[in-house]
Protein backbone atom coordinates (compact mmCIF):
# COMPACT_ATOMS: atom_id res chain seq x y z
CA UNK A 1 0.00 0.00 0.00
CA UNK A 2 1.43 3.30 -1.01
CA UNK A 3 0.49 6.68 -2.33
CA UNK A 4 1.42 7.24 -5.95
CA UNK A 5 2.02 10.63 -7.50
CA UNK A 6 3.27 11.67 -10.89
CA UNK A 7 4.49 15.19 -11.49
CA UNK A 8 4.51 16.93 -14.82
CA UNK A 9 5.36 13.91 -17.00
CA UNK A 10 6.51 14.70 -20.51
CA UNK A 11 7.44 12.20 -23.18
CA UNK A 12 8.14 12.52 -26.89
CA UNK A 13 8.55 9.65 -29.34
CA UNK A 14 10.04 10.65 -32.70
CA UNK A 15 8.85 14.25 -32.49
CA UNK A 16 5.41 12.99 -31.48
CA UNK A 17 4.55 14.51 -28.12
CA UNK A 18 2.74 11.70 -26.30
CA UNK A 19 2.58 13.27 -22.84
CA UNK A 20 2.36 17.03 -22.38
CA UNK A 21 2.89 17.49 -18.66
CA UNK A 22 0.65 15.09 -16.78
CA UNK A 23 0.29 15.25 -12.99
CA UNK A 24 -1.98 13.36 -10.65
CA UNK A 25 -2.05 11.66 -7.26
CA UNK A 26 -3.61 8.38 -6.21
CA UNK A 27 -4.28 8.04 -2.50
CA UNK A 28 -3.14 4.90 -0.79
CA UNK A 29 -5.48 1.95 -1.44
CA UNK A 30 -7.54 3.72 -4.11
CA UNK A 31 -8.48 2.49 -7.56
CA UNK A 32 -7.75 4.97 -10.33
CA UNK A 33 -8.68 4.52 -13.97
CA UNK A 34 -6.85 6.24 -16.79
CA UNK A 35 -9.47 6.47 -19.49
CA UNK A 36 -9.02 7.68 -23.01
CA UNK A 37 -8.97 6.79 -26.69
CA UNK A 38 -6.04 4.81 -28.04
CA UNK A 39 -2.95 6.94 -28.52
CA UNK A 40 -3.85 9.39 -25.74
CA UNK A 41 -0.75 8.43 -23.76
CA UNK A 42 -2.36 6.43 -20.97
CA UNK A 43 -0.28 3.29 -21.52
CA UNK A 44 2.87 5.39 -21.69
CA UNK A 45 2.08 6.76 -18.23
CA UNK A 46 1.84 3.20 -16.94
CA UNK A 47 5.13 2.22 -18.53
CA UNK A 48 6.78 5.26 -16.97
CA UNK A 49 5.36 4.47 -13.52
CA UNK A 50 6.79 0.95 -13.60
CA UNK A 51 10.07 2.00 -15.19
CA UNK A 52 9.85 0.35 -18.61
CA UNK A 53 9.96 3.83 -20.11
CA UNK A 54 11.85 6.92 -18.96
CA UNK A 55 10.08 10.29 -19.12
CA UNK A 56 11.80 13.22 -20.85
CA UNK A 57 10.99 15.22 -17.75
CA UNK A 58 8.84 14.95 -14.66
CA UNK A 59 8.91 12.49 -11.81
CA UNK A 60 7.19 9.50 -10.29
CA UNK A 61 6.79 9.49 -6.51
CA UNK A 62 5.87 6.46 -4.42
CA UNK A 63 5.06 7.51 -0.85
CA UNK A 64 6.85 10.76 -1.57
CA UNK A 65 10.08 9.06 -2.72
CA UNK A 66 11.25 9.87 -6.24
CA UNK A 67 11.65 6.55 -8.12
CA UNK A 68 11.98 7.99 -11.62
CA UNK A 69 15.58 6.79 -11.95
CA UNK A 70 15.13 3.47 -10.15
CA UNK A 71 15.50 0.39 -12.37
CA UNK A 72 12.23 -1.47 -13.02
CA UNK A 73 13.34 -4.65 -11.22
CA UNK A 74 13.95 -2.64 -8.03
CA UNK A 75 10.62 -0.82 -7.90
CA UNK A 76 8.31 -3.61 -6.74
CA UNK A 77 5.46 -2.32 -8.85
CA UNK A 78 3.20 -5.01 -10.32
CA UNK A 79 1.95 -4.78 -13.89
CA UNK A 80 -0.67 -6.92 -15.61
CA UNK A 81 -0.24 -6.70 -19.38
CA UNK A 82 -2.92 -6.53 -21.99
CA UNK A 83 -1.76 -9.87 -23.47
CA UNK A 84 -0.99 -11.24 -19.96
CA UNK A 85 2.70 -11.82 -20.84
CA UNK A 86 2.85 -15.16 -19.05
CA UNK A 87 6.02 -17.20 -19.44
CA UNK A 88 5.16 -19.96 -21.92
CA UNK A 89 8.12 -22.13 -20.91
CA UNK A 90 6.98 -22.42 -17.28
CA UNK A 91 3.89 -23.94 -15.69
CA UNK A 92 1.35 -21.90 -13.72
CA UNK A 93 3.03 -22.30 -10.32
CA UNK A 94 6.45 -21.35 -11.72
CA UNK A 95 4.90 -18.30 -13.38
CA UNK A 96 3.23 -17.12 -10.20
CA UNK A 97 6.27 -17.90 -8.05
CA UNK A 98 8.78 -16.22 -10.36
CA UNK A 99 8.78 -12.88 -8.54
CA UNK A 100 9.25 -14.58 -5.18
CA UNK A 101 12.13 -16.63 -6.55
CA UNK A 102 13.78 -13.40 -7.69
CA UNK A 103 13.34 -12.04 -4.15
CA UNK A 104 15.12 -15.19 -2.90
CA UNK A 105 12.17 -16.23 -0.76
CA UNK A 106 12.68 -19.79 0.62
CA UNK A 107 11.16 -22.56 -1.52
CA UNK A 108 8.63 -23.59 1.15
CA UNK A 109 7.28 -20.08 1.57
CA UNK A 110 7.10 -19.67 -2.21
CA UNK A 111 4.86 -22.71 -2.46
CA UNK A 112 2.57 -21.45 0.29
CA UNK A 113 2.27 -17.97 -1.13
CA UNK A 114 1.69 -19.29 -4.66
CA UNK A 115 -1.16 -21.43 -3.30
CA UNK A 116 -2.61 -18.40 -1.52
CA UNK A 117 -2.39 -16.28 -4.66
CA UNK A 118 -4.03 -19.00 -6.78
CA UNK A 119 -6.80 -19.29 -4.21
CA UNK A 120 -7.24 -15.52 -4.31
CA UNK A 121 -7.92 -15.62 -8.06
CA UNK A 122 -10.10 -18.73 -7.62
CA UNK A 123 -7.88 -21.16 -9.53
CA UNK A 124 -6.51 -23.16 -6.58
CA UNK A 125 -5.56 -26.43 -8.32
CA UNK A 126 -4.00 -24.95 -11.43
CA UNK A 127 -0.37 -24.99 -10.26
CA UNK A 128 0.87 -27.77 -12.50
CA UNK A 129 -0.94 -26.71 -15.68
CA UNK A 130 0.82 -25.40 -18.75
CA UNK A 131 0.05 -21.87 -19.90
CA UNK A 132 -1.26 -22.89 -23.32
CA UNK A 133 -3.88 -25.11 -21.67
CA UNK A 134 -5.60 -22.08 -20.11
CA UNK A 135 -8.44 -20.00 -21.49
CA UNK A 136 -8.09 -16.24 -21.86
CA UNK A 137 -9.92 -15.55 -18.61
CA UNK A 138 -7.80 -18.08 -16.73
CA UNK A 139 -4.60 -16.61 -18.13
CA UNK A 140 -5.82 -13.23 -16.96
CA UNK A 141 -6.31 -14.52 -13.43
CA UNK A 142 -2.88 -16.14 -13.39
CA UNK A 143 -1.31 -12.89 -14.59
CA UNK A 144 -3.09 -11.08 -11.77
CA UNK A 145 -1.93 -13.66 -9.22
CA UNK A 146 1.63 -13.35 -10.50
CA UNK A 147 1.55 -9.56 -10.16
CA UNK A 148 0.04 -9.67 -6.65
CA UNK A 149 2.03 -12.49 -5.07
CA UNK A 150 5.08 -10.26 -4.46
CA UNK A 151 2.85 -7.79 -2.57
CA UNK A 152 3.72 -4.85 -4.81
CA UNK A 153 3.38 -1.33 -3.44
CA UNK A 154 1.35 -0.41 -6.51
CA UNK A 155 -0.58 -2.52 -9.01
CA UNK A 156 -0.85 -1.40 -12.62
CA UNK A 157 -3.34 -2.92 -15.06
CA UNK A 158 -2.87 -2.20 -18.75
CA UNK A 159 -6.18 -2.86 -20.51
CA UNK A 160 -6.21 -6.34 -18.97
CA UNK A 161 -9.77 -7.16 -20.01
CA UNK A 162 -9.81 -6.03 -23.61
CA UNK A 163 -9.06 -9.46 -25.06
CA UNK A 164 -11.84 -11.22 -23.14
CA UNK A 165 -15.38 -11.80 -24.32
CA UNK A 166 -18.15 -9.73 -22.83
CA UNK A 167 -19.40 -12.14 -20.18
CA UNK A 168 -15.96 -13.06 -18.83
CA UNK A 169 -15.04 -9.39 -18.89
CA UNK A 170 -17.95 -8.40 -16.67
CA UNK A 171 -17.03 -11.19 -14.26
CA UNK A 172 -13.40 -10.11 -14.16
CA UNK A 173 -14.28 -6.44 -13.61
CA UNK A 174 -16.14 -7.42 -10.50
CA UNK A 175 -13.47 -9.84 -9.36
CA UNK A 176 -10.53 -7.50 -9.88
CA UNK A 177 -12.29 -4.81 -7.89
CA UNK A 178 -13.09 -7.28 -5.10
CA UNK A 179 -9.53 -8.54 -4.88
CA UNK A 180 -8.23 -4.99 -4.93
CA UNK A 181 -10.53 -4.05 -2.04
CA UNK A 182 -9.52 -7.17 -0.14
CA UNK A 183 -5.77 -6.57 -0.29
CA UNK A 184 -5.95 -2.78 -0.52
CA UNK A 185 -3.20 -2.24 -3.08
CA UNK A 186 -3.14 1.17 -4.72
CA UNK A 187 -4.18 0.45 -8.30
CA UNK A 188 -3.95 2.24 -11.62
CA UNK A 189 -6.10 0.78 -14.36
CA UNK A 190 -5.76 1.76 -18.00
CA UNK A 191 -8.75 1.34 -20.29
CA UNK A 192 -10.47 2.80 -23.32
CA UNK A 193 -13.80 1.33 -22.22
CA UNK A 194 -15.82 3.98 -20.39
CA UNK A 195 -18.22 1.48 -18.88
CA UNK A 196 -15.33 -0.45 -17.37
CA UNK A 197 -13.85 2.73 -15.91
CA UNK A 198 -17.20 3.82 -14.47
CA UNK A 199 -17.98 0.49 -12.79
CA UNK A 200 -14.56 -0.17 -11.31
CA UNK A 201 -12.99 3.07 -10.19
CA UNK A 202 -12.81 5.30 -7.15
CA UNK A 203 -11.39 7.99 -9.35
CA UNK A 204 -11.21 8.47 -13.11
CA UNK A 205 -8.78 10.51 -15.13
CA UNK A 206 -9.99 11.16 -18.64
CA UNK A 207 -7.15 11.74 -21.06
CA UNK A 208 -7.01 13.18 -24.54
CA UNK A 209 -3.94 13.78 -26.72
CA UNK A 210 -1.41 13.62 -23.92
CA UNK A 211 -3.30 15.89 -21.51
CA UNK A 212 -5.73 15.33 -18.67
CA UNK A 213 -9.17 16.36 -19.88
CA UNK A 214 -11.10 15.77 -16.67
CA UNK A 215 -10.54 14.19 -13.28
CA UNK A 216 -13.09 13.09 -10.71
CA UNK A 217 -15.20 10.29 -9.30
CA UNK A 218 -17.26 8.22 -11.79
CA UNK A 219 -20.56 9.96 -11.08
CA UNK A 220 -19.17 13.46 -11.41
CA UNK A 221 -17.30 12.64 -14.55
CA UNK A 222 -20.36 11.07 -16.15
CA UNK A 223 -22.95 13.61 -15.15
CA UNK A 224 -20.89 16.78 -15.45
CA UNK A 225 -18.50 16.44 -18.37
CA UNK A 226 -16.37 19.57 -18.63
CA UNK A 227 -15.87 19.56 -22.37
CA UNK A 228 -17.32 18.40 -25.65
CA UNK A 229 -14.71 15.64 -25.77
CA UNK A 230 -15.55 14.43 -22.27
CA UNK A 231 -19.27 14.36 -22.93
CA UNK A 232 -18.79 12.53 -26.19
CA UNK A 233 -16.27 9.97 -24.94
CA UNK A 234 -18.20 9.03 -21.82
CA UNK A 235 -21.41 7.51 -23.04
CA UNK A 236 -21.82 9.43 -26.29
CA UNK A 237 -23.92 12.45 -25.41
CA UNK A 238 -26.08 14.34 -27.89
CA UNK A 239 -24.61 17.66 -28.84
CA UNK A 240 -27.21 20.33 -29.54
CA UNK A 241 -26.13 23.73 -30.79
CA UNK A 242 -27.97 26.99 -30.32
CA UNK A 243 -27.67 30.44 -28.82
CA UNK A 244 -27.77 31.36 -25.17
CA UNK A 245 -30.66 33.55 -24.00
CA UNK A 246 -32.19 34.66 -20.73
CA UNK A 247 -35.86 35.15 -19.87
CA UNK A 248 -37.04 36.14 -16.43
CA UNK A 249 -33.91 34.89 -14.71
CA UNK A 250 -33.99 31.47 -16.44
CA UNK A 251 -31.33 30.73 -19.02
CA UNK A 252 -32.11 28.83 -22.20
CA UNK A 253 -30.43 27.37 -25.20
CA UNK A 254 -32.55 28.31 -28.19
CA UNK A 255 -32.52 27.01 -31.73
CA UNK A 256 -35.63 27.63 -33.82
CA UNK A 257 -38.58 26.13 -31.96
CA UNK A 258 -36.30 24.23 -29.56
CA UNK A 259 -35.75 25.76 -26.13
CA UNK A 260 -33.78 23.90 -23.54
CA UNK A 261 -33.52 25.25 -20.01
CA UNK A 262 -29.98 25.31 -18.63
CA UNK A 263 -28.30 26.35 -15.42
CA UNK A 264 -26.14 29.34 -16.22
CA UNK A 265 -22.43 28.64 -16.04
CA UNK A 266 -20.77 31.45 -17.96
CA UNK A 267 -21.39 33.13 -21.28
CA UNK A 268 -23.65 36.00 -22.26
CA UNK A 269 -26.94 36.30 -24.09
CA UNK A 270 -26.52 35.65 -27.79
CA UNK A 271 -23.41 33.50 -27.40
CA UNK A 272 -23.38 30.47 -29.69
CA UNK A 273 -23.12 27.36 -27.47
CA UNK A 274 -23.29 23.59 -27.66
CA UNK A 275 -25.19 21.62 -25.05
CA UNK A 276 -24.46 18.01 -24.17
CA UNK A 277 -27.45 15.90 -23.18
CA UNK A 278 -27.30 12.17 -22.54
CA UNK A 279 -29.88 10.06 -24.30
CA UNK A 280 -31.37 8.72 -21.09
CA UNK A 281 -32.07 12.22 -19.67
CA UNK A 282 -34.91 12.90 -22.10
CA UNK A 283 -38.41 12.26 -20.77
CA UNK A 284 -41.66 12.13 -22.71
CA UNK A 285 -44.27 14.75 -21.81
CA UNK A 286 -47.41 16.44 -23.06
CA UNK A 287 -47.15 19.32 -25.59
CA UNK A 288 -48.30 21.84 -22.95
CA UNK A 289 -45.83 20.75 -20.29
CA UNK A 290 -43.15 23.15 -19.06
CA UNK A 291 -40.02 22.85 -21.27
CA UNK A 292 -41.60 20.56 -23.87
CA UNK A 293 -39.72 20.27 -27.17
CA UNK A 294 -40.89 18.56 -30.36
CA UNK A 295 -39.19 15.27 -31.22
CA UNK A 296 -39.72 13.53 -34.53
CA UNK A 297 -38.99 9.79 -34.25
CA UNK A 298 -37.42 8.36 -37.39
CA UNK A 299 -35.97 5.03 -36.37
CA UNK A 300 -36.40 2.73 -33.42
CA UNK A 301 -33.78 0.16 -32.47
CA UNK A 302 -34.14 -2.42 -29.72
CA UNK A 303 -30.90 -2.84 -27.73
CA UNK A 304 -32.11 -5.25 -25.03
CA UNK A 305 -32.13 -3.04 -21.97
CA UNK A 306 -33.69 -0.09 -23.74
CA UNK A 307 -34.90 1.36 -27.02
CA UNK A 308 -32.64 3.60 -28.98
CA UNK A 309 -34.81 6.25 -30.62
CA UNK A 310 -33.16 8.06 -33.48
CA UNK A 311 -34.78 11.24 -34.65
CA UNK A 312 -34.63 15.02 -34.64
CA UNK A 313 -35.15 17.59 -31.94
CA UNK A 314 -36.32 20.57 -33.94
CA UNK A 315 -33.87 20.28 -36.81
CA UNK A 316 -30.98 18.66 -34.97
CA UNK A 317 -30.35 14.91 -34.85
CA UNK A 318 -30.50 13.28 -31.40
CA UNK A 319 -30.52 9.74 -30.02
CA UNK A 320 -32.83 9.15 -27.10
CA UNK A 321 -32.56 6.00 -25.06
CA UNK A 322 -35.77 4.97 -23.34
CA UNK A 323 -36.69 1.98 -21.22
CA UNK A 324 -39.01 -0.55 -22.82
CA UNK A 325 -42.30 0.44 -21.23
CA UNK A 326 -42.08 4.14 -22.04
CA UNK A 327 -41.32 3.62 -25.74
CA UNK A 328 -43.10 0.37 -26.63
CA UNK A 329 -46.13 2.17 -28.09
CA UNK A 330 -44.17 4.61 -30.27
CA UNK A 331 -44.22 4.07 -34.03
CA UNK A 332 -41.49 5.18 -36.38
CA UNK A 333 -42.44 8.58 -37.79
CA UNK A 334 -44.28 9.68 -34.66
CA UNK A 335 -44.20 13.27 -33.44
CA UNK A 336 -43.93 13.48 -29.66
CA UNK A 337 -42.72 15.92 -27.00
CA UNK A 338 -39.75 15.52 -24.71
CA UNK A 339 -38.16 17.60 -21.96
CA UNK A 340 -34.87 17.70 -20.10
CA UNK A 341 -34.14 18.94 -16.60
CA UNK A 342 -31.69 21.87 -16.50
CA UNK A 343 -29.38 20.04 -14.09
CA UNK A 344 -28.87 17.33 -16.72
CA UNK A 345 -27.62 19.72 -19.35
CA UNK A 346 -24.09 21.04 -19.62
CA UNK A 347 -23.14 23.53 -22.27
CA UNK A 348 -19.89 24.77 -23.71
CA UNK A 349 -19.05 27.93 -25.54
CA UNK A 350 -18.35 27.24 -29.16
Amino acid sequence: MAELAVRNLRKTFDRDEVLKGVSFTVESGKFLSLLGPSGCGKSTILRIICGLETPDSGEVLVDGVDVTKVRPEKRNIGLVFQNYALFPSMNVAKNVGYGLKMQKVPEKEINERVQEALALVKLPDYGSRRIHQLSGGEQQRIALARALVTRPSILLLDEPLSALDRKVRAEMQYEIRNIQREIGTTTVFVTHDQEEALTMSDQIILMNKGCIEQEGDPYAIYSRPVSEFASDFLGKANLISGTLCCEGGQWYLADGEVRIAVNHCGGQEGDPVKAAVRGEYFEFCSPEAEGANPFHLQKKIFTGLSWKLIGTLGTQPVDISALGISADHLEEGAHVYVRIRPENVVYYNK
Partner: protein
Protein backbone atom coordinates in the same frame (compact mmCIF):
# COMPACT_ATOMS: atom_id res chain seq x y z
CA UNK B 1 -7.91 -27.39 -61.62
CA UNK B 2 -9.37 -30.30 -59.71
CA UNK B 3 -9.70 -32.69 -62.60
CA UNK B 4 -8.40 -36.21 -62.03
CA UNK B 5 -6.00 -36.11 -64.93
CA UNK B 6 -4.38 -32.92 -63.72
CA UNK B 7 -3.95 -34.31 -60.23
CA UNK B 8 -2.37 -37.47 -61.59
CA UNK B 9 0.14 -35.44 -63.59
CA UNK B 10 0.99 -33.34 -60.56
CA UNK B 11 1.43 -36.42 -58.44
CA UNK B 12 3.70 -37.95 -61.07
CA UNK B 13 5.80 -34.77 -61.06
CA UNK B 14 6.13 -35.00 -57.30
CA UNK B 15 7.40 -38.58 -57.55
CA UNK B 16 9.85 -37.69 -60.29
CA UNK B 17 11.28 -34.87 -58.18
CA UNK B 18 11.52 -37.08 -55.10
CA UNK B 19 13.17 -39.81 -57.14
CA UNK B 20 15.63 -37.32 -58.55
CA UNK B 21 16.55 -36.27 -55.02
CA UNK B 22 16.66 -39.67 -53.41
CA UNK B 23 18.03 -42.06 -56.06
CA UNK B 24 21.63 -40.82 -55.70
CA UNK B 25 21.40 -41.18 -51.93
CA UNK B 26 20.03 -44.70 -52.15
CA UNK B 27 22.49 -45.58 -54.89
CA UNK B 28 25.48 -44.68 -52.76
CA UNK B 29 24.22 -46.88 -49.93
CA UNK B 30 23.81 -49.75 -52.36
CA UNK B 31 27.26 -49.19 -53.83
CA UNK B 32 28.89 -49.16 -50.44
CA UNK B 33 28.03 -52.87 -50.28
CA UNK B 34 29.11 -53.61 -53.86
CA UNK B 35 32.45 -55.31 -54.50
CA UNK B 36 33.46 -53.13 -57.46
CA UNK B 37 34.13 -49.51 -56.52
CA UNK B 38 32.69 -47.72 -59.58
CA UNK B 39 29.13 -48.96 -59.35
CA UNK B 40 29.49 -51.63 -61.98
CA UNK B 41 27.54 -54.83 -62.30
CA UNK B 42 27.32 -57.66 -61.45
CA UNK B 43 26.32 -56.63 -57.94
CA UNK B 44 28.36 -58.63 -55.44
CA UNK B 45 27.51 -58.00 -51.81
CA UNK B 46 30.46 -57.23 -49.53
CA UNK B 47 31.24 -55.34 -46.32
CA UNK B 48 34.88 -54.96 -47.26
CA UNK B 49 34.64 -51.22 -47.77
CA UNK B 50 33.35 -50.76 -44.24
CA UNK B 51 36.23 -52.84 -42.99
CA UNK B 52 38.70 -50.72 -44.92
CA UNK B 53 37.04 -47.56 -43.61
CA UNK B 54 37.43 -48.59 -39.99
CA UNK B 55 40.94 -50.01 -40.29
CA UNK B 56 43.34 -48.67 -42.89
CA UNK B 57 41.45 -45.73 -44.41
CA UNK B 58 42.51 -42.14 -43.68
CA UNK B 59 38.90 -40.99 -44.19
CA UNK B 60 37.78 -41.63 -40.65
CA UNK B 61 40.38 -39.40 -38.92
CA UNK B 62 39.61 -36.61 -41.40
CA UNK B 63 35.91 -37.07 -40.74
CA UNK B 64 36.44 -36.82 -37.00
CA UNK B 65 38.58 -33.75 -37.50
CA UNK B 66 35.88 -32.14 -39.63
CA UNK B 67 33.23 -32.93 -37.05
CA UNK B 68 35.24 -31.45 -34.20
CA UNK B 69 36.15 -28.44 -36.30
CA UNK B 70 32.55 -27.86 -37.40
CA UNK B 71 31.38 -28.23 -33.82
CA UNK B 72 33.85 -25.61 -32.57
CA UNK B 73 32.83 -23.20 -35.33
CA UNK B 74 29.15 -23.87 -34.62
CA UNK B 75 29.57 -23.20 -30.93
CA UNK B 76 31.27 -19.87 -31.60
CA UNK B 77 28.75 -18.97 -34.32
CA UNK B 78 25.75 -19.75 -32.10
CA UNK B 79 27.04 -17.68 -29.19
CA UNK B 80 28.16 -14.71 -31.29
CA UNK B 81 25.18 -14.95 -33.67
CA UNK B 82 22.61 -15.07 -30.87
CA UNK B 83 24.22 -12.11 -29.15
CA UNK B 84 24.24 -10.17 -32.42
CA UNK B 85 20.58 -10.93 -33.11
CA UNK B 86 19.72 -9.92 -29.55
CA UNK B 87 21.57 -6.66 -29.93
CA UNK B 88 19.88 -6.02 -33.25
CA UNK B 89 16.51 -5.81 -31.47
CA UNK B 90 17.65 -2.71 -29.60
CA UNK B 91 17.86 -0.72 -32.85
CA UNK B 92 14.95 1.23 -34.25
CA UNK B 93 13.35 -0.69 -37.16
CA UNK B 94 14.92 1.63 -39.72
CA UNK B 95 18.45 0.81 -38.58
CA UNK B 96 17.69 -2.83 -37.89
CA UNK B 97 16.55 -3.22 -41.50
CA UNK B 98 19.76 -1.69 -42.81
CA UNK B 99 21.80 -3.99 -40.63
CA UNK B 100 19.72 -6.89 -41.87
CA UNK B 101 20.62 -5.98 -45.43
CA UNK B 102 24.32 -5.83 -44.60
CA UNK B 103 23.99 -9.31 -43.11
CA UNK B 104 22.42 -10.77 -46.21
CA UNK B 105 25.23 -9.69 -48.47
CA UNK B 106 27.81 -12.25 -47.27
CA UNK B 107 25.24 -14.98 -48.00
CA UNK B 108 24.87 -13.86 -51.59
CA UNK B 109 28.55 -13.31 -52.33
CA UNK B 110 29.98 -16.59 -53.76
CA UNK B 111 32.25 -18.48 -51.39
CA UNK B 112 34.86 -18.51 -54.10
CA UNK B 113 35.19 -14.76 -53.71
CA UNK B 114 34.95 -14.89 -49.93
CA UNK B 115 37.66 -17.57 -49.84
CA UNK B 116 40.13 -15.62 -51.94
CA UNK B 117 39.56 -12.38 -50.09
CA UNK B 118 39.93 -14.15 -46.74
CA UNK B 119 43.21 -15.73 -47.85
CA UNK B 120 44.49 -12.30 -48.90
CA UNK B 121 43.34 -10.77 -45.64
CA UNK B 122 44.85 -13.46 -43.44
CA UNK B 123 48.12 -13.41 -45.39
CA UNK B 124 48.26 -9.68 -44.85
CA UNK B 125 47.49 -10.09 -41.14
CA UNK B 126 50.16 -12.73 -40.83
CA UNK B 127 48.14 -15.79 -39.92
CA UNK B 128 48.14 -17.03 -43.56
CA UNK B 129 47.00 -20.61 -44.06
CA UNK B 130 46.41 -21.90 -40.57
CA UNK B 131 43.79 -23.60 -38.42
CA UNK B 132 42.98 -20.22 -36.89
CA UNK B 133 42.42 -18.68 -40.33
CA UNK B 134 40.27 -21.62 -41.37
CA UNK B 135 38.28 -21.33 -38.14
CA UNK B 136 37.69 -17.60 -38.58
CA UNK B 137 36.94 -18.03 -42.28
CA UNK B 138 34.27 -20.64 -41.68
CA UNK B 139 32.88 -18.64 -38.79
CA UNK B 140 32.45 -15.63 -41.06
CA UNK B 141 30.66 -17.75 -43.64
CA UNK B 142 28.14 -19.32 -41.24
CA UNK B 143 27.56 -16.38 -38.90
CA UNK B 144 24.98 -14.54 -41.07
CA UNK B 145 22.79 -17.64 -41.19
CA UNK B 146 22.73 -17.92 -37.41
CA UNK B 147 21.97 -14.21 -36.99
CA UNK B 148 19.18 -14.29 -39.58
CA UNK B 149 17.55 -17.41 -38.15
CA UNK B 150 17.68 -16.18 -34.55
CA UNK B 151 16.55 -12.72 -35.63
CA UNK B 152 13.52 -14.25 -37.35
CA UNK B 153 12.62 -15.88 -34.08
CA UNK B 154 12.95 -12.58 -32.23
CA UNK B 155 10.69 -10.86 -34.73
CA UNK B 156 7.93 -13.44 -34.30
CA UNK B 157 8.15 -13.75 -30.52
CA UNK B 158 6.22 -11.81 -27.91
CA UNK B 159 8.61 -9.53 -26.03
CA UNK B 160 6.26 -8.57 -23.18
CA UNK B 161 7.10 -11.57 -20.95
CA UNK B 162 10.62 -10.16 -20.73
CA UNK B 163 9.26 -6.85 -19.44
CA UNK B 164 7.03 -8.80 -17.04
CA UNK B 165 10.03 -10.71 -15.69
CA UNK B 166 11.95 -7.48 -15.09
CA UNK B 167 9.03 -6.00 -13.17
CA UNK B 168 9.00 -9.14 -11.05
CA UNK B 169 12.55 -8.36 -10.01
CA UNK B 170 14.76 -10.18 -12.53
CA UNK B 171 17.95 -8.46 -13.69
CA UNK B 172 18.46 -8.21 -17.47
CA UNK B 173 20.91 -11.15 -17.62
CA UNK B 174 18.50 -13.29 -15.63
CA UNK B 175 15.64 -12.31 -17.95
CA UNK B 176 17.72 -13.39 -20.93
CA UNK B 177 18.38 -16.88 -19.61
CA UNK B 178 14.97 -17.45 -17.99
CA UNK B 179 12.65 -15.97 -20.59
CA UNK B 180 14.37 -14.91 -23.81
CA UNK B 181 16.52 -17.97 -24.42
CA UNK B 182 13.68 -20.54 -24.08
CA UNK B 183 11.63 -18.46 -26.52
CA UNK B 184 14.34 -18.18 -29.18
CA UNK B 185 15.70 -21.73 -28.64
CA UNK B 186 14.21 -23.10 -31.89
CA UNK B 187 15.94 -20.33 -33.84
CA UNK B 188 19.22 -20.95 -32.04
CA UNK B 189 18.91 -24.68 -32.71
CA UNK B 190 18.15 -24.05 -36.38
CA UNK B 191 21.12 -21.69 -36.63
CA UNK B 192 23.35 -24.29 -34.99
CA UNK B 193 22.26 -27.08 -37.33
CA UNK B 194 22.71 -24.82 -40.33
CA UNK B 195 26.18 -23.76 -39.16
CA UNK B 196 27.20 -27.35 -38.45
CA UNK B 197 26.09 -28.64 -41.85
CA UNK B 198 27.61 -25.76 -43.79
CA UNK B 199 30.87 -25.92 -41.96
CA UNK B 200 31.16 -29.69 -42.29
CA UNK B 201 30.60 -29.30 -46.02
CA UNK B 202 32.49 -26.16 -46.80
CA UNK B 203 35.19 -27.22 -49.23
CA UNK B 204 35.87 -23.85 -50.84
CA UNK B 205 36.82 -21.82 -47.80
CA UNK B 206 38.68 -24.72 -46.20
CA UNK B 207 40.64 -25.42 -49.39
CA UNK B 208 41.94 -21.85 -49.47
CA UNK B 209 42.81 -21.55 -45.81
CA UNK B 210 43.85 -25.03 -44.69
CA UNK B 211 47.47 -25.36 -43.51
CA UNK B 212 49.77 -28.07 -44.89
CA UNK B 213 49.57 -31.29 -42.91
CA UNK B 214 45.91 -30.88 -41.88
CA UNK B 215 43.07 -32.56 -43.79
CA UNK B 216 39.36 -31.95 -43.31
CA UNK B 217 36.97 -34.40 -44.90
CA UNK B 218 36.11 -32.20 -47.92
CA UNK B 219 39.75 -31.44 -48.76
CA UNK B 220 40.75 -35.08 -48.31
CA UNK B 221 37.96 -36.31 -50.56
CA UNK B 222 39.07 -33.80 -53.18
CA UNK B 223 42.67 -35.03 -53.04
CA UNK B 224 41.61 -38.66 -53.12
CA UNK B 225 39.34 -38.27 -56.11
CA UNK B 226 42.27 -36.85 -58.05
CA UNK B 227 44.59 -39.68 -57.04
CA UNK B 228 42.17 -42.56 -57.59
CA UNK B 229 38.72 -43.37 -56.30
CA UNK B 230 38.28 -45.90 -53.53
CA UNK B 231 34.90 -47.15 -52.37
CA UNK B 232 35.52 -46.73 -48.64
CA UNK B 233 34.21 -43.24 -49.42
CA UNK B 234 30.89 -44.84 -50.36
CA UNK B 235 30.82 -46.55 -46.99
CA UNK B 236 31.50 -43.28 -45.19
CA UNK B 237 28.82 -41.51 -47.27
CA UNK B 238 26.30 -44.19 -46.35
CA UNK B 239 27.12 -43.72 -42.67
CA UNK B 240 26.73 -39.94 -42.98
CA UNK B 241 23.33 -40.41 -44.65
CA UNK B 242 22.30 -42.70 -41.80
CA UNK B 243 23.40 -40.18 -39.18
CA UNK B 244 21.49 -37.40 -40.96
CA UNK B 245 18.33 -39.50 -41.02
CA UNK B 246 18.70 -40.18 -37.29
CA UNK B 247 19.14 -36.44 -36.60
CA UNK B 248 16.00 -35.55 -38.57
CA UNK B 249 14.01 -38.24 -36.74
CA UNK B 250 15.29 -37.04 -33.36
CA UNK B 251 14.36 -33.47 -34.19
CA UNK B 252 10.84 -34.41 -35.20
CA UNK B 253 10.51 -36.45 -32.00
CA UNK B 254 11.44 -33.27 -30.12
CA UNK B 255 8.63 -31.51 -31.93
CA UNK B 256 10.62 -29.63 -34.54
CA UNK B 257 10.39 -30.28 -38.23
CA UNK B 258 13.49 -29.32 -40.14
CA UNK B 259 11.40 -27.12 -42.45
CA UNK B 260 9.63 -25.48 -39.50
CA UNK B 261 12.93 -24.64 -37.85
CA UNK B 262 14.12 -22.76 -40.89
CA UNK B 263 10.83 -20.95 -41.24
CA UNK B 264 9.78 -22.90 -44.33
CA UNK B 265 6.79 -24.81 -43.04
CA UNK B 266 3.23 -23.68 -43.56
CA UNK B 267 2.93 -23.25 -39.83
CA UNK B 268 0.92 -26.35 -39.09
CA UNK B 269 3.87 -28.63 -38.50
CA UNK B 270 5.90 -26.98 -35.79
CA UNK B 271 3.67 -26.89 -32.77
CA UNK B 272 6.06 -27.23 -29.89
CA UNK B 273 8.43 -24.67 -31.28
CA UNK B 274 5.87 -21.94 -31.07
Amino acid sequence: MKSKGFNAVMLACLWVVLAFMYIPIIAIIGMSFNATPYGMFPYVFTTDWYETLFTTSNLLPACWYSLKFAFAVTLAAVVIGTMTAFGLQAYAPKWANRFHFVLQLPIIIPWLVTGISLLLLFSFLGSGRSVLSMFLGNLIVVLPYVVLLVNGRFLSMDRTPEAAARLLGARPARVFFDITLPAIAPGVLAGGIMAMIMCFNNFVVQYYLIPIGVQTLPTLVFTRIRSGYQADLNALSAIIVLVSVVVVILLSKLGFSAGGLFGMSSGTQSKKGE
